[in-house]
Symmetry: C2
Subunit: 343 residues, 2 copies
């Protein structure tokens, strides 16, 4: 591979001039610029990114920490992040923590600040303390899907009002006439889906409906399947199930099918997020859509701002911790919800 | 962040000794080794990967080129690759080409040999010429899922006998008694699924069954849905559909549901691959399983061998192009295939 010096010799300029042309820096005349680009072309020169990263004290990638690449939400989100990052010439390293804080810490220690100049985190079950450590070493961190806009996490973040999502789902079921509604929460009681469930309970209270049974489950199709079977066996008169995430909601529909219940005639099911499978299931899943692409764009642009401003680096003045709030969630009515049979 | 020299000073040794301890190279006594590790711990030293990469002329990541991260097979494969790579301390950069050769070329130019010391390619619709260029610059390339073991691609690869997969699917349908079988091919006629379809046709021929209608479709749920509707409208007497991939097979089942056909009583559907959704669909999908985890492991270990041996680098003797062959595909019978009603 040709070196920068060879390009410079070929173009009859100094290596510094070649470097300036390639980075769009300094003053270079149009003719000289043209000559350098022709030499780059002629020799097939590729800038050595690792060398440039080292020289500039930065690396040209962003790291995206996800908790489970096997959950289809994360590839969808990764795709949106990758598209947003590529507009600024960044590549995305996807780090899959498999919901294990130790793996997450290993990725942070190995990648942050060396291979990547910034870190995006999506519900990766990481200790906030580990993320603060990364930040204090000078590598900005952005939480991508903070679920409680009113309770800032102390780290830069993009927030989505997930409590509102739960509220919309509950209000939709009440409006259809449901009064006996079960709930499946795809995390522990104190876990990341708690705000969604709180919003659902708010809606029940506002509508004067009783708070029904609730099951906590794994955030998977299988988890939703088992929880729905348990709910329907303990209360066969349920006419609807609210689920805090689309993936377990799909499992709840499978459980209904295996129990001989028609969705939505015998049982309405609603989820949250609007992953691609929600549109592609049979019946198609009613859900509360979260603005995934918008969140990815906001997260990447916030991270780039923090990188440019050397946010959080030792010796820099500490500014307030930024939070971007994405558009509110929206109800998407499809085929899995309807008027209860017994209405 | 502390430097290597500071660690050396703290431990009372030379920087070279620190380096040897951290890389498990050279001869270092047990006491000295212990002193260095204590200094690393005390100062919170992290090796600077980009610097090490530059010094050693290699980068510590592997790049995985996938054609569509939105297709759930690729996240599943990426997960398996990541697990295999982590055992040797490599991180995986996932590059999503979106089935666009230009994007693929951009990734190869920016990442291969600088950020990544090797490239894994899975059906990424890349020009073989671009991959040869990358290889000739000294960065090994491994094709992960070559579909024709008998026709080597001229690049190192892991091959799976996909013709055999199509044959097993066809034989299964014939054995159940189906004679009027449609086919959906998730690529162009000359595309990557051609071998699978050839195997299916082999089985029909061996069983003396007529070659039925075939539709080429997008390799998505929606693509399979549309193709199945078209097949069933043009030939309502079909009793089974063979699909070259699980994702469009799921779409074919949705089409049957929308047309009021019961699977498998009215229509049997079979796919190839055994992605997670195949197990999680209702009815669960009969498919021919491909050894995904094994292929990922073989691909990573082959790539590591090529990196260690400086395979393909200018001036090195050219050896024969290696190919690893994975275990043969296996039929997995679930609920979507059965005896035809009219038998």
């Amino acid at each position: 591979m040709p070196t920068l010096s060879e390009v410079a010799r070929h173009a009859g300029v100094t290596p510094a001039t070649v470097s300036n042309v390639l980075r769009n820096r300094g003053r270079v005349g149009a003719t000289t610029r043209q000559r350098v680009l022709e030499a780059v072309e002629a020799l097939g020169y590729r800038p050595h990114l690792a060398a440039r990263a080292l020289a500039e004290g930065r690396a040209p990638t962003l790291a995206l920490m996800v908790s489970s690449i096997a959950n289809p939400f994360y590839p969808e989100f990764a795709l949106a992040v990758e598209r947003a990052a590529r507009t600024s010439g960044h590549f995305v390293i996807i780090c899959n923590t498999n919901e294990d804080p130790h793996t997450g810490r290993a990725y942070l220690d190995q990648i942050a600040g060396t291979l990547s100049e910034g870190v995006l985190v999506t519900n990766a079950n990481l200790d906030l303390a580990d993320l603060h450590t990364t930040e204090s070493r000078g590598t900005p961190v952005v939480l991508c899907m903070w679920e409680r806009p009113n309770e800032p996490p102390g780290l830069p973040c993009v927030a989505v009002d997930f409590r509102r999502a739960g509220e919309l789902a509950g209000a939709h079921l009440l409006e259809l006439g449901h009064r006996r509604i079960g709930a499946i929460v795809g995390s522990k009681a104190s876990g990341i889906h708690a705000a969604r469930y709180e919003g659902f309970v708010d809606a029940l209270r506002a509508g004067g409906a009783p708070k029904g049974r609730v099951k906590h489950a794994a955030d998977t199709i299988q988890g939703g399947y088992e929880a729905a079977r348990a709910l329907l066996e303990s209360d066969p008169k349920l006419t609807a199930i609210f689920v805090t995430n689309d993936l377990p909601a799909l499992g709840a529909m499978h459980a209904a099918a295996d129990l001989g219940l028609n969705v939505p005639t015998d049982l309405s099911v609603i989820g949250i997020t609007d992953i691609q499978l929600a549109r592609e299931s049979r019946p198609a899943l009613t859900t509360v859509a979260v603005p995934t692409v918008e969140v990815a764009g906001l997260a990447v642009s916030l991270l780039r701002e923090l990188i440019e401003s050397s946010y959080g680096q030792a010796g820099r003045p500490t500014t307030s911790v930024p939070m971007r709030i994405a558009s509110p969630p929206e109800l998407v009515v499809r085929a899995s919800t309807g008027v209860p049979r017994s209405r």
